[in-house]
Every structure is written in C-alpha cells, then in structure tokens.
Chain length 328, copies 2
C-alpha cells in the first residue's frame, strides 16, 4: 500500500445487498488501511450503525453526507433512492470533499451520474470500465467490462489509449503491449467491429511507450502471456469477467496470482470512480475501496488524463508540422 491519506466517498445504498454488505465492507477497509478516511453517503441511521462499530481513533476518520431528501420516502422505488446516493457521492468528489468514490449500485446509473457530475475528458465519448486480472507474467488490464456495450471502432481505439495509460500509471507496466480481443490472432479474424478497429489501432499512437501487438484471443485475458492491455466491447468484457470468476470457483479457488477482480475503475471522467458488482459481498466492497484509495494515492486519474493531453498536444503539434511541410 502506498502512503498518504485517501478520502473515499462510499455509496451506502448501492448494491443488491446494501446497506449490510457495504457497511461490512467499509469496516473491513477501515481496519486494513490506517490512512483511509471514509465519507459515508446515505441514510444517517445506516452511517450511525457503521460508526458504532468503530473505536474512537477510527471514528475521526469517518464523515457522513446524509442523503435526507429521498430517504424515508417509503413510496419512492428503491432504485431511485439508490441513484440519489450515487449522485451525492459524485458531488462529494466534484466538491473536493472526497478524493474518490465507490458504488456497488447499478453500473449504468453510476456511469451516468459520473458523466453528468464530473464531466468527460476531451475526446472521450464513452468512458470505459477497467478491470485488472492477475496473470502469471503480471496484471492484465481488460477494458471495457460493461460501460459501453456496443462501442464504435473509434471508441475501442480511444479505450486502447486509456488502457495503455492506466496500465502504466496504475500498475507501473512499462511500455504496455496492447491487444484487441478477437476469435483468432491472424489479421482479418473477427466480426465487422474488430476488422474495422484493427487498422485503427495499428495507426493509433499510444501513450506511455505502449505498442499495439494486434489481435489476441480469450487465452490471453487469463494467461496474460502476450498482452498487458486487452481491448474489447463492454458486452464481451462483462461476460468474460464473470465466466472467469465462475471458472476459478469451479477449479476450487483462484490461482496464486489472484482471482477475477470484483471492482473496476471508470476511466474517462474527471474524477476517480470505482464500480463494484451489484452482487458485491463485503470483501468486494472492501477491495473496491482499496482500489479507489490506490488510484488516488497514485494520482492515477490526473496522470492518465495528462498522458492523454500530452498525446493530444503532440497530435496537434504533428498536425501543425504536417501543415507547415505541405504549405512550404
């Protein structure tokens, strides 16, 4: 764990089994990380229940943002109440009251709240959910795992840029190898989206010294031998991640390197946002909070954004040079 205070906003009502598993997960995270501060976003009575389980030294690391306006409105559907807590958590990040936020609520609602509340980075039409899978040779960054189900080729190419920057910043992977997930490794393999994306990626200038290695297959997501970053659509990525989790359960437990991740970072919005699966258990919520704290301590969001900006700035400079050459 890297040093430094991290103030994480936690959506107490997000997730199928909220608030119980969120409270339990937040308590675990507090105990594991002495520099962690939590902003509990939700009903005061839920926050009080959590605080009651802390000792006095831990209590000073907890603050509460009550979501009063909808809590207690018994006629409000549960989904609407949960969305209001995720919006309040996003607001806390925007205000600077929290450094990052975590929700196990509906992914679509979290992405929408983050886009509206924090704003997208320039040239990012669709933010990406990024999951990191442990493999033998090191972590594999998989994106998208559920943010954009039907991305256009240009979106997949942008996600490759995001993934490369994230691999370098969040996981210290030097010169990441980026692959496009398909049904074979030979050029031309795959559906229309893959065939259209492959040449775009070959032409894309990637940040952090990353290079595009071409098409990769399902094996490469789990074994990690060929690529550090694997780019796919959110439908395939989501299905894949859950199938891998099931495979590890079938095989009697995750490999020594670690199992399938249960938390993903949302990349492409101006703030640090971590999404846990809706069926998250307490350990998953705790790992989501730990991921948010890790990303904040690495200043991952700012550094990824800066790599993209540098990219865009170099692009502008290149275009300007091209123009000069042409007009000379």
């Amino acid at each position: 764990m890297e040093p430094g205070t991290a103030r994480i906003a936690v959506d107490l009502l997000g997730g199928d089994d909220a608030p119980a598993v969120v409270v339990d997960g937040a308590l675990r995270a507090m105990r594991a990380d002495p520099d962690l501060h939590l902003l509990l976003v939700g009903p005061t009575e839920v926050a009080d229940e959590l605080i009651a389980d802390l000792d006095p030294a831990q209590r000073v690391r907890v603050a509460v943002r009550p979501v009063r306006d909808v809590v207690g409105m018994a006629d409000h559907p549960s989904a609407a109440r949960k969305e209001s807590t995720v919006r309040a958590a996003v607001t806390a990040v925007r205000d600077g009251t929290a450094d990052a936020m975590v929700s196990a609520g509906a992914t679509g609602a979290t992405v929408t709240a983050a886009v509206l509340g924090l704003g997208r980075w320039p040239e990012i039409r669709q933010p990406a959910l990024v999951a990191t899978l442990p493999a033998v040779a090191g972590p594999v960054v998989l994106l998208d795992v559920g943010g954009s189900l039907e991305p256009r080729p240009a979106t997949l190419a942008r996600h490759a840029v995001l993934g490369a920057a994230y691999a370098a910043v969040a996981h210290s992977i030097p010169a990441p190898r980026v692959g496009l997930l398909s049904v074979g490794t030979e050029a031309g393999k795959g559906d229309r989206v893959r065939r259209a994306t492959d040449p775009l990626l070959a032409a894309e200038r990637l940040p952090a010294g990353a290079r595009y290695i071409g098409l990769v297959e399902g094996y490469d997501v789990t074994l990690g031998a060929r690529a550090d970053v694997v780019v796919t659509d959110g439908f395939t990525g989501n299905v894949l991640l859950k199938a891998i989790e099931g495979a590890y359960a079938m095989a009697g437990g995750p490999p020594a390197e670690g199992g399938a991740p249960r938390a993903a970072a949302l990349l492409g919005v101006a703030g640090t946002v971590v999404v846990c699966h809706g069926s998250a258990r307490a350990g998953d919520v705790a790992s989501g909070i730990a991921l948010a704290a890790h990303l904040w301590r690495r200043r991952a969001t700012d550094l990824v954004s800066a790599l993209l900006d540098g990219d865009a700035a170099t692009d502008r400079a290149n275009r300007s040079t091209d123009t000069e050459v042409r007009t000379s």
Copy 2:
C-alpha cells in the same frame, strides 16, 4: 462409451501442427475405442506412416481416402491443400463411406465445406458450433462458439432450438433449461441483439420439453447452476471458451468435472461433423474423434433433426388449426 461400430473420417492435413498431431491423435483414439474405424483422408504417405504404427488387428479398422489431386503440387498454397482434404472428408460422409468426420483445419473452411457438401437443414440459415462444458450440476451446452460471429436475433432463436435438442439427445438432459447470455439477468439487460432476441426466445416453442429461463450471465457458463443450454453469438462464445481454458490453466488444472472442451459439433448440416481447434494437440484430436463416434452412436444428428422436424410439423399443424378456427 456406447457400443457399436463408428466409422470416422479424419482430415489428416487439418490443423496448425498437422499431420503429426492428427496422426498421433488418431492412433490414441484407435487404441481407446476397439469399435472405432477410421477413414484417413489425405496424402497416402501420411496414412502409411499411421498404419505402420498399428498392429495387424487394428489395421483392418483403417481405410484410406488418398487426396491425390493436390498433394505433391508444391506450388499449391498449404491452405488450399488442407481445404481439399476437408472437402474429401465431407464427401465421405455424404457418400456413406464414413459415419462422421473430424477436422482441426480452419473452422470457416470446414463449415463452408459441410454446408456445400451435406446441405443445411430446413430453416437453418447458419449452422452452429456447439461445445459442451462440464459443470457441477452436469454439462452446459454452449452455442455458438465460432460458427456465426454476427447472428441476427432469429438465428440466435434457431440456435436455442438446436441447443435444446442437442442437450436432450447428446447429453440425455431432460427438459433442458435454455438461457440467453447477457450482462445481467433482469429483462432489458444487454446490447440491441440481446434485447431483440429475449422476447423471440420467450415466444419460441423449444423441443424436448425445454424451457427458456431468460437472461443468464458469464458465471452460468462455467458453474452451470441455472441453465443447461447457453445461447450466444459465435464471437462471444469463442472468446469465452478460450478464456475459460486459460483460467483452468491458471488455476493449476481443470476442475474434477473436466476442463474446457477442445472439440465442437457442427449442428444444422445433414451429417455429423466435429471441429477441433486449429492449435489442437494429439489429445484434442483424439477427443474430437471420440465426440464424433459418440454422436454417431447416439444417432444425434438424425435425432436432433427429427426433433426439429417434429417442431416444424407441429408448427404447421398449429397454423393450420389457427386458420380453421379463424375461418369457421
């Protein structure tokens, strides 16, 4: 193993490491199954090499279909030579010289050769590649795993019918539960194709007492708790199968129930065709031959076809009754 002679045509030149691994795999299959007969399709010198490793009692169970016309033409690209062996193997099934065929050559070439040489069943536009994954509660039939990368909703609905019939016939699963793979289980989850297919499947009459249980997730492919048949597009199915195989390798080996399958049945053509992965090893080729023999001994192709015909006949009867009711 069920009793009865099975005569399997083997494409000696199909696969990245053919003919060596095909020869090795065929030898293993011969030794494991005393009622297995092989028709070796390919260059005579390769067949002779295989036969030399058999004892006299085994030799009577082997025949050769030499593929003379292109073998020895050194200027022919390797791919064209391999495709000619798969066409000859298909012809052997059509002629009745073989009961079924196996190839580890390019999937697309095998599907094309099978469709052209054997013909499609009525109302099947796109045949499906079907793989069976072992799970705790019994096998899970996954289709498509690479035959049709971008199926329309109507094709996915037909594949559900094929998968249900196959689960009943090939794996003796009573009243199979059929699920549509998506990113969540609630209705409306998924991309456009899934949202359009879900109501089609809900309205589809499935054979063999099967019922549609709605959307399922990646977990359900590996754990098998909710569905016996999982329907998806060939892109997702192919990527998934390989990722699961990689996950089992990562976890130190497949679960006790068995690992990810390395051979798939082609359903929807008028003959028994098994496809092995292009990177098949000898054990994979042997398991492909064993699958072909199993399907033949169960008369799976005929029985699946009959279930579909029964289905179509009942549909016609229902339509006719409807018309009578309307005109009365």
